[in-house]
């Protein structure tokens, strides 16, 4: 199952907190860009698919301003 969250998170030293749990990124599995609805002013987002400890699989979105969002998780 996947959940879409779009929650702002802060990544420090490859770790972030999500729902009170600290996750450490142990592998960047994939990376891509998505344009968004540019005609409505949405920015291009960079996406990174990460595997974490404790076990987790997350998509993290990075805005052009450098802000990070936890976009979706995969159970």
């Amino acid at each position: 199952m996947t959940h879409i969250w779009q929650l702002p998170i802060t990544i420090e030293q490859d770790s972030f907190v999500f729902h009170g749990v600290e996750y450490t990124i142990c592998k960047k599995l994939d990376r891509w860009l998505e344009s968004g609805a540019w005609w409505l002013g949405e920015p291009m987002l960079e996406f990174v698919l990460v595997a974490t400890k404790p076990q987790g699989l997350f998509e993290i979105a990075i805005t052009p301003q450098g802000e990070t969002l936890l976009y979706q998780s995969f159970d």
Partner: protein, 929 residues
């Protein structure tokens, strides 16, 4: 070394967002050493791309992205010309359903972008099948198959790359790095996405798998490429290596010109025979000129081209197909002696070098108009003579203009505030291919190997290259133009006398409706003012009413000098021989050539290059060089510096306007012929006009009523008596049944075979859908005086609820005929107009303020020298036409084609047919119906 082996230009229609020029410019900025053009299933942009790349010092590689039968993509690059031939042959064969991919030498195959078959299999985790497919292709193209790592910054790119690299290792195949470039800059992604939506017929808000995900498909910098392919450096090296393997020499097609053995001698023989027919033996000028022209033609190697055109024209003459040569070719004595053109260039002092010279490197262009009904016959002749594989039409790319772009952008739902900037981005991008109206090529070798071909809707084969690229490939291009006026002349087939006084008097009175080139309001006004007395005056007037002379303020001075209201002066007496015929003014392009030659000592070829520089924008540097050269040489020849400067300023003020005199003369000849026929055979003339519609400036109703005003008796339609085509003879015009819309040829033929008829019942071989227009046109009035009752009878009932009112009858005649033989719209308004309202006939004799009512025809807004808006239109009633000029100041009156209006204004004393509009009120439906 930076290279791009997978690049789409805007010739990947509604997909690529950058023209070749923009791609090359950007590539040059980034230091690209080689670029491959790989548009989708076409090579339409390759010649332009190659030329631009070579100019920029970038190695051009010709290629194409094929779409295979399963929808997957394959990138194909040409190693050399042989490879390009194979790509052409493959593309051309797929149109016939043949999908055999090219093999062997000359081509390199890349596995494709994310839409490639291998990549698709990998994304489906069908790795074994991907490996097997790669194996098959590696055997199919030994040593020529490459695995393409196309980095598009999409999900799973690394997965695909890893799998492809694994396959490469196992099969010992090279990898090459590409970016599936669709635009030069990342900022152009929205343009590309918008184009994709137009292509797919969807809105921006719609999700579609064929839309790009991101803006990654642009020409990357070297460091960006290194970053993208950081883990796969071998692929980058592979791309460089592959680019090096492609030939350094640019692709050059072989000689495709048809070969005519002894072409120079043959041409000379025919030309000298023509000269002997057309000129007196005592004429010294013509032989010397012919000799010179033949020498130039032979030196440039164009004798064969002339013979091709001569052959075509000979067939036209033999089959009695009406034709006229036009354009700068009319300035050639060789063309005249071969009967390609009909204007005597010696008598009219036309300049050969405007058409051809040693300095002009371009192939000559001989344009010939043919009777529009016979043009296809001549095309068939060429296909038959040279072979279907060796003859094809050419295409023209319809590029985005403002209105087209706006429509498409609105359709995809682009927010209004973004539309202006997108219109600018779309402008000039090719949107779709259309068939060029007249262009045709003849090749000595099978076209399918050398150019991309497609089938037009008409079934003709056309080359999907535009006319400039066709010439660059080295193909002979002819223009088989069709002209409806020639159809009308062919139909009349009546003798025309030259220099007929009555004809010039008619033209001078402004009665030129239907006359070729000089029937518009502006022309009629001009003719009434300059009162042409000879052919030369007609030649000048054809050239004067053009945007250029109007903006260049040449028209009024010409008129004043023609009427001796202004003194004719020359900046230098040396200019007099060249400008005398145009009263000291520069009207024709040839005059620029003559002046530059006479005063500046330019060779005719140099003069023609000056002429081109004067007429094209952004040639300031070149013009400065020409100016300096002209001044220096004029001084050497004894001209004062003030005079030399003034003359060059005069030449410069000519910039942008001016028609070719030879072209004007050709058109003037047809203008004179049609004027003569209108003057002396009005019934035949107007009948021929109606049979060849749409033709000319005015609608059929105007043509018909002008015929009436000329005293021609109009015989309405009658199913038993009317000819199938309109026939004019001896002052009577019998309308033809073919005027009725919706009546097909087989029905017309059956009517002519089975008549006479006495009732509807006898017309049971005609469908009700085609009987209805016959009723409404009045062709069945002999069956019943009530057209309404006939319609009821058609529907199977004898109930007769009364007939149409005269207004209803008129409207229905207009609907099915586009004319009414019995009524004019204004007749129904006459009784409700103010008593002071004049008819056109009376208005034209009443200088000063008047009231007039009529139907508005042909409103248009031409450019003016001042830039202030002006609207010209015609208003017509049953007695004639009045030309109206409207200067919108403040309140803007809407001017609507077809509208019936009451106007107040002032009749121009000088231009008696011209009303200066003051106010306008539209009238609704007439009260008297």
């Amino acid at each position: 070394m930076t290279v791009s082996l997978h690049t789409h230009s805007a010739y990947s229609l509604l997909d690529g967002a950058s023209l070749p020029r923009e791609l090359i410019t950007r590539g040059s900025e980034l230091g690209y050493k080689a670029m491959a053009l790989t548009d989708h299933n076409n090579v339409s942009g390759v010649w332009e791309f190659q030329r631009l790349a070579l100019e920029a010092g970038i190695k051009p590689i010709i290629g194409c992205e094929f779409t295979l039968f399963d929808g997957s993509h394959l990138t194909v690059l040409a190693e050399n010309y042989l490879g390009y031939e194979k790509i052409c042959r493959y593309l051309n064969s797929t149109h016939k359903g043949d999908n055999n991919l090219p093999t062997g030498d000359g081509i390199f195959i890349l596995s494709g972008c994310r839409n490639g078959r291998l990549q698709r299999l990998i994304l489906q985790k069908r790795y074994r099948e991907a490996l097997e497919q790669a194996q098959v292709w590696a055997r199919f193209w030994p040593g020529r198959f490459f695995l393409e790592l196309s980095h598009d910054q999409l999900p799973r790119t690394i997965e695909i790359f890893s799998a492809l690299t694994e396959i490469a290792t196992r099969l010992s195949l090279p990898t090459v790095a590409t970016v599936d470039v669709h635009y030069a800059y990342p900022e152009k992604f929205p343009v590309h996405d918008a184009l994709s939506c137009v292509r797919l017929g969807i809105k921006l808000n719609d999700v579609n798998p064929e839309r790009s995900f991101n803006n990654a498909s642009y020409l990357c910098t070297e460091s960006e490429l290194k970053e993208r392919f950081g883990s796969f450096p071998k692929a980058l090296e592979g791309a460089y290596a592959l680019a090096e393997m492609c030939e350094v020499e640019p692709l050059r097609p072989p000689n495709l010109l048809p070969v005519w053995p002894d072409a120079d001698e043959k041409l000379a023989s025919i030309a000298w025979q023509g000269l002997a027919r057309k000129y007196s033996p005592t004429n010294k000028q013509a032989p010397a000129r012919l000799q010179h022209e033949l020498q130039v033609i032979a030196t440039l190697g164009y004798s064969g081209y002339f013979l091709i055109v001569y052959d075509l024209v000979s067939v036209a003459k033999k089959r009695q197909i009406c034709y006229q040569g036009r354009g700068s070719a009319a300035g050639s004595l060789v063309s005249y002696c071969l009967d390609l053109t009909q204007v005597d260039p010696v008598a009219h002092n036309l300049v050969f070098e405007r058409f051809l010279s040693i300095e002009r490197s371009q192939q000559p262009d001989i344009d010939i108009d043919f009777d529009w009904q016979k043009r296809n016959e001549l095309w068939d002749y060429l296909e038959h003579k040279y072979g279907h594989e060796f003859v094809a039409g050419i295409c023209s790319f319809h590029c985005y203009r403002e209105d087209m772009a706006k429509n498409d952008l609105l359709r995809i739902g682009l927010p209004d505030k973004l539309i202006p900037s997108f219109i600018e981005s779309f402008y000039g991008l090719p949107r779709h291919i259309a068939t060029h109206s007249s262009g045709l090529v003849i090749s000595s070798k099978s076209l399918s190997s050398h150019v991309p071909l497609i089938k037009a809707v008409t079934g003709r084969t056309i080359i999907s290259l535009d006319k400039d690229d066709v010439e660059e490939v080295g193909l002979v291009k002819l223009d088989l133009l069709s002209l409806r006026t020639l159809g009308a002349l062919a139909e009349m087939d009546l003798p025309v006398k030259a220099d007929d006084k009555a004809t010039y008097e008619m033209i001078s009175s402004g009665k030129t409706l239907g006359v070729f080139q000089i029937e518009s309001p502006a022309q009629r006004s001009l003719q009434q003012r300059i009162k042409p007395q000879n052919f030369s005056d007609i030649v000048s007037s054809v050239a004067l009413i053009r945007p250029g002379p109007i903006k260049g303020n040449m028209v009024e001075p010409f008129i004043k000098r023609q009427r001796k209201e202004e003194k004719i002066t020359y900046l230098d007496e040396e200019l007099k021989p060249y400008l005398e015929k145009t009263h000291g003014l520069i009207v024709f392009q040839e005059q620029v050539i003559q002046i530059a030659t006479a005063l500046g000592g330019f060779t005719p070829g140099e003069s023609d290059r000056l002429r081109k520089a004067l007429t094209q924008k952004k040639r300031e540097v070149e013009l400065k060089e020409f100016r300096d050269l002209f001044l220096a040489r004029a001084l050497d020849r004894g001209t004062s510096s003030e005079t030399a400067e003034a003359v060059f300023d005069l030449l410069q003020s000519f910039a942008g306007y001016g028609l070719c005199e030879a072209h004007s003369a050709s058109f003037a000849q047809t203008a004179y012929k049609t004027a003569y026929l209108r003057c002396h055979y009005p019934a035949e003339f107007f009948g021929a006009l109606l049979n060849n519609q749409p033709l000319g400036y005015y609608p059929p109703q105007s043509v018909l009523w002008e015929a009436k005003r000329c005293g021609v008796k109009v015989i309405p339609l009658n199913i038993n008596l009317s000819p199938l085509a309109t026939m004019g003879k001896n002052g009577e015009l019998c309308l033809g049944l073919n005027l009725i819309k919706g009546l097909h040829d087989p029905v017309l033929k059956a009517i002519s075979q089975k008549r006479p008829f006495h009732s509807l019942a006898e017309l049971d071989f005609i469908s009700p859908a085609q009987l209805r227009p016959l009723v409404l046109a009045g062709a069945l009035d002999s069956f019943s005086s009530s057209r309404r009752s006939l319609l009821w009878e058609l529907w199977g009932t004898k109930s007769i609820p009364g007939d149409f009112t005269p207004w209803e009858r008129f409207l229905r005649e207009m609907m099915v005929l586009s004319l009414s033989p019995t009524a004019h719209a204004m007749q129904f308004y006459r009784s409700q107009l103010p008593a002071a309202t004049l008819t056109a006939e009376k208005a034209l004799k009443s200088p000063g303020s008047i009231l007039f009512a009529g139907q508005i025809l042909r409103p248009h807004r031409p450019p003016t020298k001042s830039g202030n808006p002006v609207v010209f239109f015609v208003m017509e009633d049953e007695t004639g036409q009045v030309d109206v000029t409207y200067f919108p100041r403040g309140k803007q009156l809407p001017i609507r084609e077809g509208g019936i209006a009451l106007v107040s204004g002032t009749i121009d004393k000088e231009r008696a047919s011209n009303l200066l509009l003051n106010d306008l009120t539209y009238l609704g439906a007439p009260r008297q119906v």
